[in-house]
Symmetry: D3
Subunit: 286 residues, 6 copies
């Protein structure tokens, strides 16, 4: 169960409106690695943990914090949109700055949301749960979380570089610090689980049931062998259970598949027509 | 540039048709962590690497291999669909097994693809590039890749548990082994980059520009403090640059936001109407 | 800012597992009118209110409660999935009940979420922010909310009819009661705003700027005039500003549009080719 | 069955081309509350009415009219795009107005549609049936319709404020008037159904089966009690069947959920690993 | 402008309900090549024709007819859903037929639409305008139409094979006949345009501006040369302007791309780190 | 199985960066008819061919080539983004050209992809498998392919008109030539299959089972009879099996549908309420 307090976790006040930046800032609110994504990802992971304990608690802690970040960003975006200009080409023609705003801002910030933040990214794609991950396997999911915080911090840093507004920079520097923590915490949790299980997810599948002859092989499918220089191509594997090896010229291990004809009720191309096309290559083409 | 050979990388032949399993197997072909996702993710990452060298080569090697896995799964699914039965409720009523197939299989495997594999997941959602990640920052992206291979291997293992068909199990045991390698290789690459940069992505943002006072703080937003037990709550941070700390009762650091009224041309609720609602709490409610 | 407590707002415990019902119950968690939709809809509306006061507070209260409902449903679904069977057609063939489960359950509940709830609806469509509405105009948005609670309660009632499990019914009867309240509360808020503004949204657009001659006209575009019997076809309009009227045989008021040819750099069908097709109807076709 | 006449319901002719406004105008053609949405929403509702009569007729009348509105908007957009300029950065650099158009217009209006309207919104999201609602329950659906016309009229009014073109304003003033009518008509229909049934949807669920103790309770989940001032917090409920009440400090009514471990074939985090994390809070953290 | 008549274009009455078939039939209502797709595709193409004449008229004629087909299918689906059973696993366990229906039918047909048709395909994906095509170039678009009618007729034929219901078959045989006509009509229109322009779209791009040396070349990128047997590999090209030729072993024509480093404000992997990876292949790997 | 070589099929080097054009060029990489679409469409069709032979080989050849085109476009876009400027409104205000770039470029090219190409179209919609077609019936699918190459070439030609950069034009002229070939090759393949089967897809459905009385009829549903002038309205049908005919005033062939009431457990509008609305038209309305 959740309680809300009206105060913000941290300040979210720009020096001045900037509808163009409002549009960009949507990315870290409603984009693939925005705050909606991490909030719902952590909560869904937490609700699915079978058993309780510190991992579940950590997920719920962090999920609840991310809800506060959505709120900060929604507030900041609304303020960046304060008094945004409206107009058509005639208006745009009169003043290049107004023109740049009218052409560059997200038109839905006027028409749809009435100067409010939207659950969408910086090009207007609505947020989708396609972005989130919750498998029930904590090691897998903490890796998803570490990735999310890595991509998220990277995006916030890029946005920090794109603005001169001290109020915006102040809020972003908060979010960047929190992402520093969140990367650190997921790394800590991952290390702990890797120590208890092993580095390969899932750790519970019997090794003898996989084709172990290719469990540590790098196939060089991209001509040129710079990839042979990597740690992944020689020496003991990272899970400590094998030796990396490198196959410079990989070959197929199974023959050409031939599929059986479809039954008549499927109305695919009739087998007679297809068969007709399987003759020999005409001599003049060789 | 790409060349195709008609032979398969590995066998993809079931013992017998099973349209229900064909539907499930779609998950690792066209789902969030299916082979289309990893193939295009690695290729897009590779094409975006600014500079060449072993990381780019590794991405292209692995991307090209994943294309071969799409092909194996497409072939397997087509064979699992061989001669799939068709019919309506009347047909279903005659034979419970036929009925289970008719109710449980993906109807698009007959109507849309004519007994072929589809670029879709196990419930029929079409594949979308929402699933893939390529940021230009290799450490961030290799974490995405490690996650993808972790989720992917987990899903293949679950599918392995769901079938009794030796041909299917044989192919899955190949894919499981390859995912073992791919997890190992991304771990190796991540370790190398972490050693060169640092564990926090991006490593190039000046530390003094982030709000360092909260860079290593766990806020306990979920009542109860089991999360205090974790490594993430005390001791040196994983990046070696700070000390984790735990705030049991986090409080807001900014006050309630009050947004300015919208300009008249937005036609939001008129300010007069809103103001009207901000009176005191009636005495009888206290 | 949000705080989470680990206890549930209300019980979420089924009498027994039922993976088929788990799939159906996803509808009111992650469907168009599921709890994710109302939670995020109310929160986004609240964050966008320009001014504070009771409406904003009401939105935040209800949004926070809906987060608790997501949690209850996620918990219930995980329990309905407890120990869900796995298997292929061979397994299905042995026991019709197992077969029905294997064919009818959501395969992603095993493969993807590992027996956890998903942010998706009952057919597996991932939740999308396409479902939510926040315009900045409270009267418009409260109507969206009343609709959401009406559709939502209807769906929960239908699910109530589809189960015999007393634990599930108990939880659903809680959700139904809350939806009763939420319909009542939005009706109360709507009535208040309608009294202050008028029933037509937005109330601030000058009436003389709309084409008032058709502001209260029902055009009978569907042959047959049963629609003439409605209150909407005669008598004073609901906004008290006009008289409804009924046009039995509506006619177009503008002539056939003719679009100018595209410029050559568009490479549409060349005007010469199009012109050629605009001759008279050949005599023998009349 | 439908017949088409080539004449438009109303004029759709701008004074001059304006590709920036063409992009914005797409919102009310192919956006969430655009004309495609209402047309298909009313038609699907009409086709699903079980029984005939005036409500079905009203739905078909209005649905058919909305098809005419799609046509008017498609025509207007094509005309606003007449002779739209093309070019790259070099072209843009020569003339700020051309530059503003090239940067601000929808590039698909040239590349994809060849200066035609698209079934998409103002940021280019393609229309999706996620936007529409048809439940079979007319009171629920008429509320959806009233919301759609409220949001729709609001958006058209905002667009009206964004243009100086008299031809565009003329057409928009027609659409605004029609939305006035449509809001009025759905209000009339809603009032009639509410009088026959009750205000809570669905009206047919036995009251004794819902948890009536919370059917009229406002839970104050958002700290601060401005929401206590509302009509929704005291007095008789809007359905006339209860009394509103306000719970200032709501508490959870069920205990912490503990989910059972997943079966081994799911390969979640092994129970032993999870159990390990559930120890007591270390003394120094208390 | 459109008029609706309440009578159906053709009969849409099944012999008996069949909720499983109702689910399948959704494919040709709301799927990629369902009636919504063709209706909106033809109408959007028609509205975008720049100039009037017979092609525009043909598009509007056919678009309007497809609206009538949506209506027939919506009616048929509602009837196939008449009195559909509801229940949970307990209910399913009692009767294998009921169980098959409960597992196999679309749960949204009960929960969401209340036994009505939905704007969705046979697996529940909501219809999207991603499916439709309107480019302004009629030859291109008529090819899209011919494809749509080919795919559509194929799907209806497959559905015809899946049912024993004479009422359903009767309606499908009408739709199949109409698709016969629509394929014929688009072929006729295509032939006419090809005769006036040429077979390559667009016909207006100057030939000398394309790289004519590869305008008629088949590159054999898939090892094995069965493709050399085709008409496309030798003889005059279909547009009469060149000679087909076959390149058995195609080679790249440009060298390896090397991208410049990203500027620092992008925070990609630092160039120093990347450079580090571009050394020579270690001797032992050669 | 696939092999990659690092060299490009053809040059992909612009004269100078142009982030606005980079955004537009995304259309033919990740849009509806971009290279991802054709690559995956041809590969999926190829993998589903039941039988081998020249058609399958042709599909794999062309699919593999399209992968090379994705690579060329990804490279070109990365180069057009070289050193793209970043900044906010303040930056934009200083220099109109920078302002035009900041407003007009895709913000995700900085924030998300770090100056790399994205699997998205020119307005930022992520690529989706909704775009691709593979039915198992080769005649149907080759028509889809001919359409894809027609739309694709049209889009590339329009982009060619939008740039002055000789490097970009050089690459586009290569893609235009390849699309010339691909249109030619699918036409050749279609002609061959039409000669072996017939022009109507599928060719295997018995003619006597369709309603032959309407197999060659054009219904004039759009008032005005310009469509009567077409070849499709008179003379022998294109399949050689009938005579086209034209129905100037088509009438419905089935009566008004009346659906049965929903069962009570659906909680639709109660039949009593609906029945109430089916009275006679009030005398004063006639």
């Amino acid at each position: 169960m959740f309680y809300h307090v009206k105060e913000l976790q941290y300040h979210a006040k720009p020096e001045r409106p900037d509808p163009l930046f409002a549009k960009k800032l949507q990315e870290v609110l409603g984009g693939q690695f925005g705050e909606i994504s991490v909030a719902l990802q952590y909560l869904f992971q937490g609700w699915s943990v079978r058993g309780n304990g510190k991992y579940k608690d950590l997920l719920m802690d962090t999920g609840a914090e991310e809800l506060a970040h959505i709120e900060m960003l929604a507030t900041m975006i609304a303020r960046l949109l304060d008094g945004a200009p409206v107009g058509d080409l005639e208006t745009a023609a009169k003043d290049p700055i107004i023109g740049a705003i009218l052409g560059g801002m997200n038109p839905q910030h006027v028409i749809v949301s009435g100067l409010g933040a939207m659950p969408a990214d910086s090009v207007g794609n609505r947020w989708t749960a396609d972005y989130i991950i919750a498998s029930g396997n904590l090691l897998a999911d903490f890796r998803a979380n570490l990735n999310a915080e890595s991509q998220g911090r990277l995006q916030v840093v890029r946005l920090y570089e794109e603005t001169n507004d001290r109020g915006v920079k102040d809020m972003l520097s908060w979010l960047i610090a929190r992402d520093t923590m969140h990367q650190n915490q997921w790394i800590a949790a991952i290390k702990e689980l890797e120590a208890k299980e092993n580095v390969v997810v899932p750790s519970t599948f019997p090794r003898e049931l996989e084709k172990q002859e290719v469990s540590y092989t790098l196939f060089n499918f991209s001509k040129g062998n710079q990839s042979a220089q990597g740690r992944w191509a020689h020496g003991p594997s990272m899970d400590g259970l094998g030796q990396f090896n490198y196959v410079e010229n990989p070959v197929p291990l199974a023959k050409k598949p031939v599929l059986r004809p479809a039954p008549p009720y499927i109305h695919d191309t009739p087998p007679a027509v297809l068969k007709d096309t399987q003759g020999l290559v005409p001599p003049n083409m060789k």
